[in-house]
Assembly symmetry: D2
Homo-oligomer: 192 residues x 4
């Protein structure tokens, strides 16, 4: 079994490296800038995602809190009413996740909040209704590429790409706001 263990895992790491190269080439920096502006200008920020994209959304929200933003996760306990001057950031590979699409529609139509979507599907319902879209390449959930399916099943490549991209954005925001690691640490929870 020992050789098998090495083989698939190392192959996966190469695929991720390739994906990062892919991201470097394909990221539209104007989209990134629009996204950063939306974050900077929002009164409150709300994040949302389903399944593993939801964990990526929460990992990003935690860093936004460390950076000093007023940020909330849709569905968590202390999340208040969203308002017109607030931003809803959604993470969905397909851009068609039922809850994410419905909640986004509600935020836009009933409240007038701004929507920013991180997705790999620019033709999705979510992308079309959002004010800001950051398009990330990743395997499309409904596309069947034999090798990729067996090594990075379902939304794996999108979720990893989204987390890496958003952690890079945190570095940008730290730089923009002249914050150091010590500033983030001051807000980091200690009761854990």
């Amino acid at each position: 079994m020992q050789q098998l263990v090495g083989a698939t895992l190392l192959r996966f790491l190469d695929v991720v490296s390739g994906q990062i190269e892919n991201l470097k080439r394909s990221l539209d920096m104007r989209q990134v800038e629009e996204f950063m502006n939306a974050i900077e200008q929002a009164r409150k920020i709300f994040v949302m995602g389903a399944g593993r994209s939801g964990f990526v959304a929460r990992a990003f929200a935690m860093r936004l809190m460390h950076l000093g933003y007023d940020v909330y996760v849709v569905g968590e306990t202390v999340t208040p009413r969203i308002g017109e001057e607030d931003l809803l950031i959604t993470i969905s590979g397909s851009g068609e996740t039922t809850s994410v699409v419905n909640i986004s529609r509600k935020a836009k139509e009933e409240i007038g909040s701004m929507l920013a979507a991180i997705t790999q599907n620019e033709n999705s319902t979510l992308a079309k209704m959002s004010d800001v879209v950051v398009l990330l390449s990743g395997k499309n959930k409904y596309q069947r590429d034999e090798e990729l399916s067996s090594i990075a099943p379902l939304g794996t490549m999108f979720e990893l790409t989204a987390l890496i991209f958003l952690d890079g954005l945190v570095a940008e925001l730290m730089n923009l706001k002249r914050l150091t690691e010590k500033d983030l640490e001051k807000r980091h929870a200690v009761l854990e």
Copy 2:
């Protein structure tokens, strides 16, 4: 601002690529194999982590469920009593997170469960008490490397490395169990 946006983000992506190369060289495949054996032999699997490591733990737990394992997240609603033949997987960069160390001690001493730790600190309390340890290189939380601190603050590099490693392990387990993406999809939640 446009050039700034490009610079830090692209630099971050290079740092992550470097970290993946680092992981390829430094991963101890005997540790990986021991970890896979522990997963295969457990009756039930429990996962735990605090903060962003907790989101990584949950992303991994979700995939273990998709792979057909009987898996639970410590602290979630339907998580039952852990038993002697069960495995507790913990994720902690420092290996010193209060709740993770205390819960691990309880599982080991009071119940006799098996412990597997994913950490970057082999001298930590958690690593020392665990039956299986997978050591991941990452920035040490308490080490102050000027450039890395400003681009990948706090546990960022460990958390990303842990998610990438565990997603690679999912590929290994799919291969080992001869599962296809379709098999995983059959268990993937649709109410979301």
Copy 3:
């Protein structure tokens, strides 16, 4: 302030006592029996609720796990795909909560799962689409009774009534299945 402290709190306790009397008179035991049968016959049970009704749903799910049922919370980490022979239990005072209605519709129309709703609104979208409905009296969210509003705001009375009713149902299920507290304790989480 001391007398004030006493007054409103004691008045609230009287209102809750009155509500329990109200529940005893108004509960339709045929609905309760149908609900118990749905629980007994389901292969897997899924529960869902938004906000404080979501906490009530999770408190009930935890007890169903203690009773030995195969139960999951919609949106939690290890929740698998719902199937045709499964039951979705929803808790919503108004019966109109966006996510609860949309998820229920998906479970019914796309999967063919059974729906059971705990609500105070028998004319709601949720009640109308559900196979089993348990109607609980409570203050209607949109009704404005001066005194009640100031002492049990928003969904308070429904949420309390739902938790009390469901804990009473747990007693029924223990009795039906001839389970003792010791049986429940064996499944109760210890890693907490």
Copy 4:
């Protein structure tokens, strides 16, 4: 089965009514006042509980947010570092839950935060280390009263009592702060 359904459930409702009478007689209003003062004087409020007591803690935290307090749940995504002028509210029937005791000790000894415990065990580790204690009668987890065990197993009676008490306290706080249901509704989440 129909008669059985009626019997146990109605008996449970009587037990809860009796418990509310019991609470009216046994509540120490000086403890309640101290608890309200601690809430009013805190800069930030943190709440914590394990299992079903954790759901009660979150239901209370949600209402504190509706009332306008700056409140967080230990372990949730956007929860910041606790400080010296902050209050940690814990809910634990036994007052001995591992995580709750350890986190409270950390908040007190390392940070110097104020501790308020809602418990039924005045001799517990938690009660002894807390600055404010509200003692609620309920079945002691480790006491074995034959009938109560079979109708309100484990922490049921404490959890119900805690939720009812805390919802009564919300009424007190509304009254104290001259807030109406409309004020609460303005902060109530709509994305759900």
